[in-house]
């Protein structure tokens, strides 16, 4: 199959799919060499990346998916006659803690946030952004929470390494602090 043909067929399949398509799935559909498919995917990505296009081809949650460009959200929202929904600040904060610290218990989340977070954890479960990934081997066997595949889709991430980098703070360790104390005295 020449690359031009593959590109058109690939576009058709991506257009029709309602979920990110994994490489393996695409290989099974087209029965071509991985390398050829990879190149064509790359070409198609570049094609869509041009300013004049309304959609993008993105690598999401280990697969490939066509998505509308963020700047055209207002028009798509009119089509869907829905309002923008967004996670509250508290919910995003809780979600961020779970995403960076997973697997994490509710008690740990609450310690980090300094507030009761049970309701938010439940909300995030209902939205399927997080799930129970296990039980901690501690008294009471508390549930451990982690993010879902849908979390990656929700934020358009290829994998968890795509999370924003957390700022590192210098020397919050005890040694530095006690040194300062000495000077104060």
């Amino acid at each position: 199959m020449d690359s031009a043909t593959l590109k058109s067929r690939l576009e058709a399949v991506l257009f029709a799919s309602d979920e990110p398509l994994r490489m393996d799935r695409l290989l099974a559909i087209f029965e071509v060499e991985r390398e050829q498919l990879r190149l064509v995917l790359q070409e198609l990505t570049v094609d869509y990346a041009q300013e004049s296009r309304g959609i993008l081809l993105q690598e999401i949650a280990g697969g490939f998916q066509l998505r509308t460009r963020p700047e055209y959200a207002p028009w798509v929202l009119k089509l869907k006659s829905s309002r923008r929904t967004r996670l509250s600040k508290a919910a995003t904060e809780t979600l961020a803690i779970i995403a960076y610290r997973q697997p994490v218990t509710r008690a740990e989340i609450e310690y980090l946030r300094g507030v009761e977070s049970g309701g938010l954890v439940r909300l995030l479960m209902e939205k399927q952004l997080i799930k129970v990934v296990g039980k901690k081997d501690a008294p009471g066997k508390p549930s451990l929470y982690g993010t879902t595949k849908y979390f990656l889709e929700y934020f358009g991430l290829k994998d968890l390494s795509g999370l924003p980098n957390l700022q590192e703070f210098t020397a919050p360790d005890d040694a530095a602090l006690s040194l300062e104390m000495d000077f104060d005295n």
Binding site: D18, V76, K89, T92, A96, G114, L177
Partner: protein, 257 residues
């Protein structure tokens, strides 16, 4: 609200005591590694007083933090006992609080950045889930492992129950549908089919009670490994797949009677 005093202070809302403390540290340009505990405690308590003055319920977490601050302050006032193991000796009582504040700041920043990412159904859109996805037919063998979560199942049941129109009066009725019968009905529905949408088993059951009985029958069937409940995508359709086994006795639920 505060008509008597003639003015009302507009209070920013904070996610919790840590959020408030961070705000105070920044506002008063304090060095986070050397927080003047007396000053921050004073500011903190002032803020809580403002909250109370405006009839805002002060959450217990805020009070707990106030107690912690005072505890730290009192620890710092006490003379350090002279002979101790040298490790414990010079631990600043503020260390834990500073740790927590810095950790909290990191996640707060992370959350802020995350919030700016284009989000699905808010900033970007993809093809929505096909309700009756054709892909389910072609690509799924009965050994699919799209396990359905408890929440999704409960939500699906809630969806079914919401469609029941309850009469405005209370009717006492007798239903003779047993779980065993519902199980048989379920098997009849599944007979010869690859799978069935979850909602379909409730389609000719008009009453709440009967729906609940059928739902129990479905769970029973899963427990006896005669069928599987499968959801392929989050927010996708839930399907019931019959499990074909060799020596499948005709009535599975009667043994449960």
């Amino acid at each position: 609200m505060n008509a008597a005093s003639g003015y009302a202070i507009k209070l920013d809302s904070f996610e919790g005591p840590l959020d408030l403390l961070l705000h105070l540290v920044v506002q008063h340009e304090m060095d986070i590694y050397d927080i003047p505990i007396a000053k921050i405690t004073e500011q903190y308590l002032f803020y809580l007083e403002q909250m109370e003055a405006q009839n805002i319920d002060v959450a217990s977490e805020f009070l707990l933090m106030a107690a912690t601050l005072i505890h730290i302050k009192s620890k710092m006032l006490l003379p350090v006992p002279p002979i101790e193991s040298s490790d414990d000796l010079d631990i600043d009582p503020r260390v834990e609080l500073v740790h927590r504040l810095l950790e909290y700041q990191r996640y707060k920043d992370g959350a802020q950045q995350l919030d700016e990412y284009p989000q699905l159904e808010r900033d970007v859109f993809a093809r929505p889930e096909n309700a009756e996805s054709d892909m389910a037919e072609s690509t799924l063998a009965p050994d699919v492992t799209g396990e359905v979560g408890l929440f999704e199942l409960v939500q699906a049941l809630r969806g079914v129950l919401e469609r029941v129109v309850e009469p405005p009066y209370h009717e006492v009725y007798v239903t003779d549908l047993t779980v065993a019968e519902a199980g048989q009905k379920l098997r009849a529905l599944l007979d010869g089919r690859e799978h069935m949408p979850f909602n379909e088993c409730f389609s000719d059951l008009p009453r709440r009670l009967e729906i609940v009985v059928m739902f129990i029958a479905v769970l029973e069937c899963v427990k006896l490994q005669r069928c599987k409940i499968v959801q392929l995508n989050p927010q996708g359709m839930i399907y019931i797949y019959p499990v074909h086994t060799q020596n499948c006795s005709s009535d599975c639920t009667s043994q449960e009677e």
